[in-house]
Subunit: 231 residues, 2 copies
């Protein structure tokens, strides 16, 4: 069992008696490497992510490191694992974007784009280009890693780009710590997003041109509207 | 309990003794309406979708219909439900895009755009604009509803747009019936996508410019590559 400290604590009740490889944040490569070493030595090892392991999470890094080390991975449909191969299975989960969307109502009922604002591993120019493209083509936009102590200006920059294409009134959902202690859910007009309390454990949903609020929910219609009368 | 016939059959073992409102496809509005009527009459009613109820699924339609009927919905954090209000809760699930991605490896480790190719409820011009924007900005592209008997040319058109911006060799994952009977997983070069067997129960993942194949998997790197040497 390997994972970032916070996530290991979340699964602690289920891992009694298991060996735990636990490292702090920003030590992803060491942690994944240790998990691979453990598996190569003959002990099955589970690497834990929060949300879904495939969305901005560890599934990709584990596979990247295996390839870099020249490890042969067993085919997914291999009945028996060849002796020189490592079996790697990715188990899907409920991603933060679904947990957050459910709390907000139904913001993702139509096409959406998912963008991380972290420029630690991606040049800001690439992020900016994606924000512009997504805003111009009227995607609902889901922002991961919207702000941290060191990255304080990116969210405002993203907001400025969105405002070039959308109304300042566009419903914008802000979900912090979805389904965890300290959960907080808010819906604000897009123009008020930069002033909102947002951190690394927050995910932001910027509605498209048709997204509306209803009670304390945010809904992006699928386009059934024209069909009601004939229904 | 309300749902499309196929999904009701999937949960049949868990709903013994429950009243079931079950309708065929394309009767979404009637089905959601009947679920709302049931709840208004005082009986809790669960509406079942496959995957996640918020992604191209029924959560949005239920909320839309409630609003259209002038129903007051209870606030999510209301301790007690006011007598004139209806409590609506959206329960998140594992969306097809996560189930499919896990089977393919890790195609969604970086920014991605999700687009439905169904032009039943969305004009093709809007879909085309989104495909163009997503392809130009190097998003991984996830296609829902890629093809049906009546909609046979959309996938090829989407492919032509992607090929204006990506190499014909771009790894493209095709997952049919993820985690269900008849599951099928393939990775082909983008240029071969139009010839592939694809139907409404299929989801397509077009890699970005950095996506690679490794064994029988497809991986989009997060961008750790430059960090390996200092790790």
């Amino acid at each position: 069992m390997a994972g970032y400290t916070t996530y290991i604590e979340l699964v602690r009740p289920f891992i009694a008696g298991k060996t735990v490889i636990c490292t702090a944040m920003k030590k992803e490569i060491q942690r994944a490497g240790a998990a691979i070493d453990t598996a190569l030595a003959g002990t099955s090892c589970a690497m834990v992510s929060s949300g879904d392991a495939g969305i901005y999470a560890m599934a990709g890094l584990v596979l990247e490191l295996c390839r870099r080390r020249g490890i042969t991975i067993a085919a997914s449909d291999a009945g028996e694992i060849p002796p020189d191969a490592l079996a790697v299975e990715v188990v899907p989960g409920i991603p933060a974007l679904c947990a957050g969307a459910a709390l907000l109502g139904a913001p993702l009922t139509h096409d959406f784009a998912v963008i991380s604002l972290s420029d630690l591993l991606t040049p800001w120019e690439v992020i900016e280009k994606r924000l512009e493209a997504a805003a111009a083509a009227d995607f609902v936009i889901v922002l991961y890693n919207p702000r941290s102590r060191r990255r304080h200006w990116q969210l405002e920059a993203a907001c400025r780009i969105a405002l070039r294409h959308r109304s300042p009134q566009t419903p914008t959902g802000i979900v912090s710590r979805a389904a965890r202690e300290g959960q907080r859910v808010r819906i604000v007009p897009l123009s008020q997003l930069p002033a909102a309390t947002v951190d690394m454990q927050t995910i932001v949903f910027i509605g498209n041109s048709t997204t509306f609020t209803y009670g304390d929910r945010m809904v992006t219609p699928r386009g059934y509207a024209g069909k009601y009368d004939t229904a």
